[in-house]
Symmetry: C2
Subunit: 431 residues, 2 copies
Amino acid sequence: MKQTYVSQLQDHVGQEVTVRGWLYNSRIKGKIVFLLVRDGTGTVQSVVSQGEVAPPTWEAANQATQESSLSVTGTVRADARAPGGHELSVKGIEVHQLVTGEYPITPKEHGVDFLMRHRHLWLRSKRQHAILRVRATIVRAIRDYFDGLGFLLVDAPIFTPAACEGTTTLFEVGYFDEKAYLTQSGQLYMEAAAMAHGKVYCFGPTFRAEKSKTRRHLTEFWMVEPEVAYAELDDVMELAQGLVCRIVGDVLARHREDLAVLERDPAPLSRVVPPFPRISYDEAVRLLAEKGHVVEPGNDFGAPDETAISEHFDRPVLVHRYPAQVKAFYMKPDPADPTKALCVDMIAPEGYGEIVGGGQRADSLLYLEQRIAEHRLPKEAFEWYLDLRKYGSVPHGGFGLGVERTVAWICGIEHVRETIPFPRMLYKIYP
Amino acid sequence: MKQTYVSQLQDHVGQEVTVRGWLYNSRIKGKIVFLLVRDGTGTVQSVVSQGEVAPPTWEAANQATQESSLSVTGTVRADARAPGGHELSVKGIEVHQLVTGEYPITPKEHGVDFLMRHRHLWLRSKRQHAILRVRATIVRAIRDYFDGLGFLLVDAPIFTPAACEGTTTLFEVGYFDEKAYLTQSGQLYMEAAAMAHGKVYCFGPTFRAEKSKTRRHLTEFWMVEPEVAYAELDDVMELAQGLVCRIVGDVLARHREDLAVLERDPAPLSRVVPPFPRISYDEAVRLLAEKGHVVEPGNDFGAPDETAISEHFDRPVLVHRYPAQVKAFYMKPDPADPTKALCVDMIAPEGYGEIVGGGQRADSLLYLEQRIAEHRLPKEAFEWYLDLRKYGSVPHGGFGLGVERTVAWICGIEHVRETIPFPRMLYKIYP
């Protein structure tokens, strides 16, 4: 029996098809049963009339419970009033498995803990469905953008021998008789790859063992990290701006309905076009002072500061040249003011926080050796990285964009835990 | 100073451009220096004539050492004899960093251990360059294939609370006050996602703590895992066949030159077209017996058996219905012979071993509960998985395709360690 997906029904009007899926909802109205059947590509109203079907089909229609699996055979009719624009006049029903007992997720309000423990079922709900569809488009947009610009995908390793930025937030793994750490960033590896391939990116899961329970933190999250040989800070900002415009553009082009399900106003997203404002850290500090936010000189911004900055602009803002002391050892100092780093953060609009961090990397061997010593990092673990400055060092830079925060911003959702299929948080790894 | 990539030179014949890269090789011939400059997109011969450049440029050309970073400005000339079809008549050279001391990787033969310790530099060599380019196209082909068929990308988690197939080959991670394991497969999660979205796939790193040092094993490798609701074994075989044809087709269309660098004969790849032979395990056992390979009844095949099977066919072969006892607990038994599982392995040609494993999943709650008990797996860890059989269970199936073995086969290389940018093996996680 050939299967027709709900998303294909428009091509089968007047024909008899079989839709295979699950019962989302049903309504009995005298001698008619309306079955709302979902199959992953959409939902179709399937109309069962007692007078037009055999008694076992009528019985099946009446007994089917929420999330029971079933195949429904019937004729496709265009009907503007029906959800999705089509409905099925049912001839036959095959129930694969009848759900007995109550389906755990009912239309009533459930607590988040309950929903998270039932994430494997929660995925079936309309809202989660919409979020993961947008997420998949965002991932695709990222890959299309870099592949289209001639970047080479170079997968970074997950097991690493040492930390990029200290060991306090690293997950340690027993690696046979040794120890390994789960990667926090593929950047150092991408620097090596950029020296081989010019323009590269990695895109995979990264890990942070942070004991923080905030709405912006996951222990496992996906990050894309491009790295470009011969790129300087302005090139990095241009590249990041182009990426974010591509992502937002693709979502707006394909997911108006999903954004409506999420009650996400698309108007602020429509304003995400180049050029994004670019302000220095010092300018941002002055802006914050005007809004009554005091930033101690030389300190990084906190989440409330980022929110205040974002509220001042109608699109993402690029904040560059932070104090070198709050940034990682590999940042290149600004020749015009060596207390500042040639770095940039992109802060999303509407208070969604930092979604991009990057900059130009130090290309001097001597400077990097000094910084590694100052940060008390184990030099032997970085020998290979220093080789990149001994053998053909070039100006270069790149950034990382976090997928989950980007999804949260674009979908307009409060907490990143809904932006990834199976979120991992402090004390939370089931299912 | 605008940068022109070597791959773009054809559009700039007769124009002055600046190529930024590294010195791959140089040759001095009296009053002419030939600099072979690579920039990641290609290599261009840059001709420096003493009579046509200022003395500092002439000096720079003579002093530049292997892998020194430099920008070369000159006029593009079409020259059929030049590698790549174009060369530069140089006017100026800017050396960014002069490599002093010998570059570690010289044209002489190095041992594999040495090369692996210098993987960050080894990536720059022609052969490694070609392999990673083919790998990127394979990854892209996989995503294009599934996205084109309407599959939704659903990222599986890396941290898992329990093992899919026992804990002996799992990496354990300290997860705050608990333990977690690194995923061996996203399949169980994809089964949950398929019940929500119909057709899904995950594509990410997976981990096996195997103490084996073979040419086919890595501790960290990438796997794509599609899962389809309402799919049966034949559908799974069809899907896997289509994927492998798409991958091989895309590589042949775009990488003839890279395959030539790898001395990979493309002829056997051209024969990878549908239909692939499909034989049962029992037929494979008989085939092996004819070739003098004795397989104990009910046992799995070893690598030499797979090689012998592959040599019998001119394209990948699908071997289905292995003994249930050698397969995982979630496999659906064949109704025609319950001692066999409705599973399939795809064995690559030319002795490259299994590249796909999959099949139809058990959809009966009772059967799965029995199998989990028989395998002495912790039932509480699988409660969520059993929920999928309580709430709308459907026939479904999928498979996993290992990226590194696929790259090894298509590139025709002996050992999987060269198929991933930064390979992780037993006692080997640096750089």
